[in-house]
Amino acid sequence: MLSKRIIPCLDVRAGKLTKGIKFQENVDIGDPVEAARAYYEQGADEIVFYDITASAEGRAIMIDVVRRVAETIFIPFSVGGGIRTVEDMRQVILAGAEKVSVNTEAVRNPAIIAEGARAFGSQCIVLGMDVKRNPNDSKTPSGYEMVIHGGRTPTGIDALGWAKEAESLGAGEICLNSIDADGTQNGYEIDLTRLISSQVKIPVIASGGAGKAEHLLDVLTRGQADAALIASMVHFRTYTISEIKTFLQDHGVKTRMHW
């Protein structure tokens, strides 16, 4: 059977690895290429890079990071942040990324999902969703609202409706980030993850809130996620990826244990 994937997320600013809390207070914590290599050695199943600069100069640095990563690690990785056009996607893919993720731009211009899927295949296109709880609002019947610009701008768009629309446009996967849980290390937003994952046919990566191995166990079982994104808990060396995988395996969640 398919293994549940454990995916470290590397936020990159001007070529440096960084980690913020609720999208603020970013501190530089190292070289993304070295970190990716270390996570590959520890058994990461995939790696996600988010370019949080996304200025023209920042983009060129990011493409160079992608190229260097592709030369040394042989597992899939995706790149997101500031992807606005099919041409942006092409640059990242040609530099060696397996997948690109679109977030704010996809909300503003949903056609980019279909264009990207046509150009590179659905398996290349990850829909990044930043979601905030918004119960008791008729615009968001699922109780969850899409937010953009790194969580700062509410859109009035229902998260579940958007996930289904993006799937029908050709998104191959969803990376579902809870803004309420992000950076808290208090656990993933389980209800949100289960809601989206059970209503779409494409895989869902849970994101936001991981602090303990138990949190991954919870979201990969009760939350019905296909994969779990992690950041602080490995960046700050509270856990190694292999420790997390051993814990999950011991609790009946199948993970890839040989690499």
Binding site: M1, S3, Y40, D45, F74, G96, F120, Q123, A227, H258
Partner: protein, 211 residues
């Protein structure tokens, strides 16, 4: 030199990077003359069968590939490359190369495991139970997993050509071996060390199935 067939079927650079990492001289090209001189051929591919077949016949690479297989050159198919070597694909009802008798089927929509509906595409890491004794799969640990991303799977006409099986609600053929041809549904170039080991085995392989 390892020749990698470029027929505009997705991004094939990751195959090149993996071979470079293994220090295997390789060339990615659509030029049949260059590929003709290669000792081994890799036939990768990502995307849709219809577009891939159109590109292959337009460039004439379909006939060259058939010739290389016939002549006994070691050939490795990967993902979509593996699918189009069969007679037919259910993806948009596409006639394919017919190098290996058989067809390519879509995963049934209602696959289940442990009481939960399985998602399509089959995306992520899974085990492959390889047939013992084939040089290209030699030394791969039983617990090794490989990276898959596909909604269709190969179904060879002769069971004997199935060289590896994977379980995803059904047990499907994840690796094919027939004479000098080996074809895998997963991506060895994205499957960490076990995938690199498989590629290294292929580059050293003379094209004879030990069985």
């Amino acid at each position: 030199m390892i020749g990698i067939i470029d027929y505009r079927a997705g991004n094939l650079t990751s195959v090149v990077r993996a071979l470079e990492f293994l220090s295997e001289p390789c060339m990615i090209t659509q030029d049949p003359r260059v590929l003709n001189d290669a000792s081994h051929i890799i036939f990768p591919g990502v995307g849709a069968a219809g577009a891939a077949m159109a590109n292959l016949s337009e460039s004439g690479l379909d006939l060259h590939l058939k010739k290389w297989v016939r002549e006994g050159k070691p050939v490795l198919g990967i993902c979509l490359g593996t699918q189009v070597i069969f007679d037919h694909s259910e993806e948009d009802d596409t006639p394919c190369l017919g190098i290996v008798p058989g067809c390519v089927r879509r995963f049934p929509a209602d696959l289940e495991a442990e009481g939960r509906k399985l998602k399509i595409p089959h995306m992520g890491w899974n085990r492959v139970e390889f047939r013992q004794g084939h040089p290209v799969f030699a030394g791969i640990p039983e617990a090794a997993e490989f990276y898959f991303v596909h909604a269709y799977y190969p179904s060879p006409a002769d069971e004997g050509w199935t060289a590896g099986r994977t379980d995803y609600g059904i047990r499907f053929c994840a690796a094919v071996a027939k004479d000098n041809l080996v074809a895998v549904q997963f991506h060895p170039e994205k499957s960490g060390r076990p995938g690199l080991a498989l590629l290294a085995n292929f580059c050293r392989w003379g094209g004879k199935d030990a069985q």
